[in-house]
Symmetry: C2
Subunit: 370 residues, 2 copies
């Protein structure tokens, strides 16, 4: 097989690294992380991560070029956790080509680096030797769009062993640019559920993770796109996805045993689908919700707040104080309060990142169906 072209060492030049030999990211035992990219001709390389420590950079940090053509940056020691990151090479955003934990989303390839936790303080989003559920991918035809649709569904450990048992169901929605795989790949929902169930802190439940972008990425003006995308997904959700999921899986089918929750755009979906269909959902969760056009929903609920409060077993919201959506979110929760709609609001540390959504999932799930 022909070999890739490689820059050849030149007697008068420092020897260039072989691209295949670059190790990145490298995590030391104390949590120090080395990021590296082979890019001998680049004029600038940045490390981009929404999760870098603030003292380093809120978002991007320049890397330095070595004589061997490898750009590098050392960060940390970082606290144990999973960090979403990429590089920007002369303006071109790209995933770390040397990483072994890459996956695709609607925003291109992405990768993470994991700083392990000490054994005596294990993280809820790290794999443990407990019974494991499984995650199935389903393809279906939707009444909403012509293109094939896919959903991920988590079933808890033991699901196959108790053929008569019905489970509660959580519909768990992703944000803009992601897809139905992200709550598993980036959000580790299956790992968090397995661990919570093993600890006795959560009801065994089915978790349905749809693809919330049946129209794909936004085109044109958001004010035109969002209502169209929302109504397309509403049709898909209620007439395509829910009938599929609830016929294929043993779920109770009662509103008291059905929840909906989502992050960012998925928070908007949870408001729109959950709060307007209290005949179907008794539990609604919003993580860093993008409360777009949510005033329409609040106005509707305000007509009979007592009935809404009676129907909602839990309306749970959380957002980080560094989230760029904080002000919109505060407007939304203020409107809820003014309308007399009961809700539980958590303003926490953190920004608009998968680290906080994994944390929120671990906090929300133990509250459901109990």
């Amino acid at each position: 097989m022909p070999q890739p072209n490689r820059p050849q060492p030149d007697g008068d030049q420092p020897t260039l690294a072989e691209p295949g030999r670059v190790v990145s990211p490298e995590v030391e035992a104390d949590g120090t992380v080395h990021f590296r990219l082979f890019a001998p001709n680049a004029q600038s390389v940045l490390l981009r991560s929404p999760e870098l420590p603030k003292e380093l950079s809120a978002y991007e940090a320049p890397m330095a070029r070595g004589d061997d053509g490898v750009w590098s940056l050392t960060v940390g020691p970082l606290p144990p956790g999973i960090y979403d990151y990429g590089f920007v090479l002369d303006g071109l955003p790209l995933a770390d080509p040397a990483s072994a934990s890459l996956f695709g989303t609607r925003r291109g390839a992405r990768g993470t680096v994991e700083v392990p936790a000490p054994p005596d303080a294990p993280r809820l989003d790290a794999w443990r030797d407990v019974p494991h559920g499984s995650v199935a991918m389903h393809w279906y035809r939707s009444p909403a769009v012509d293109s094939p649709r896919r959903a991920h569904v988590y079933t808890p450990p033991g699901y196959g062993d108790e053929p008569e048992r019905a489970y509660p169901v959580l519909y768990l929605l992703h944000g803009m640019g992601d897809d139905d795989a992200c709550w598993t790949q980036l959000g580790r929902a299956n790992v968090i559920l397995d661990n919570l169930i093993a600890l006795g802190r959560a009801e065994p439940m089915v978790v349905v993770m749809p693809d919330g972008m049946p129209l794909g990425m936004p085109e044109g003006e958001m004010s035109e796109w969002w209502p169209r995308a929302l109504e397309t997904f509403r049709t898909d959700f209620f007439l395509g996805l829910m009938p599929l999921a609830e016929s294929r899986y043993r779920v109770d089918g009662s509103r008291e045993r059905r929840a909906i929750a989502g992050l960012s755009m998925g928070g908007a979906h949870s408001i729109e689908f959950g709060l307007t269909r209290l005949d179907l959902f008794a539990w609604v969760g919003c993580m860093s919700a993008a409360a777009w056009r949510a005033e329409r929903v609040v106005e509707r609920l305000a007509q009979d707040p007592a009935a809404t409060n009676e129907a909602l077993s839990l309306f749970w919201l959380a957002i980080g104080v560094d989230d760029f959506l904080l002000n919109t979110h505060r407007d939304f929760t203020a409107a809820l309060t003014q309308a007399g709609i009961d809700h539980e609001l958590h303003e926490t540390e953190g920004a608009h990142t998968w680290s906080i959504w994994r944390q929120y999932l671990g906090e929300l799930v133990p509250r459901l169906f109990r």
Copy 2:
């Protein structure tokens, strides 16, 4: 949210493209494909694909830089199909950052471009509006290694509707650098099975797709690594994966209804696991098999070729005449012939590519369990 740094237009310079605005790949109706990469400072950018037409390049083709910093290459018209490709930027291999169909493997991010087939000549590996099976991911602890293990399992349409029915099972193995997701993501095994079953050309079956690299990517000498990796996977396969799969899924459990097949390294696994355990497998398939150390297996079978031939319902092999493994493969099949082991050999057009493995899967599956 802070915006990525972008090269700023300069009055004396051509305006640079905005990286987010680059469309790649762009597929025209006649199958012409435009590949593009924003890389203003690069000295060379190559399109790399094992599937480019030979007249263009066996493996790599140079792209040309435009004044706007975008490198581009137009290829085709290409025949309908799915093409695996990436770029090489000054020696750095990377997936197309603008592609919406990226995914990670052990060799980093990869992407494909699809040239649609005309409606009157649909491809077997393209989505059709037929009943769909599903694909589940299972995580398990293996007796072979300490790290968590994962497998993908396809169940055919209707699997959940016939709770008493047992199905035949195919173990389907991937090649070096890939993982248990690749037969679905790159190989479209679920799509091919759905279509064959809908056409009445295949038995509905369960397909178990393990991760064949429990030790990860090779380190050190292959002659040392391969036997160690093989025996580790053998332990995982027979003592971890098979018990998991056959307890979780309704499979017959008889050798006549159990098959094993794989591509490249997975062909070697199929030879090693299938031909040495004819008490478990009656059907063995090899696609572009890497027949490493396979002479040991042939020697063993040669002791009683009649018993082997009696036990094997089908021993099916296929390889492309442009495959870099062709000579090794010919040595192997010559040894089979000399030992009196019945087999069916297909030397076809093509090389060591996912296009040919999708084709082979579509040819092999209709032969199984019939």
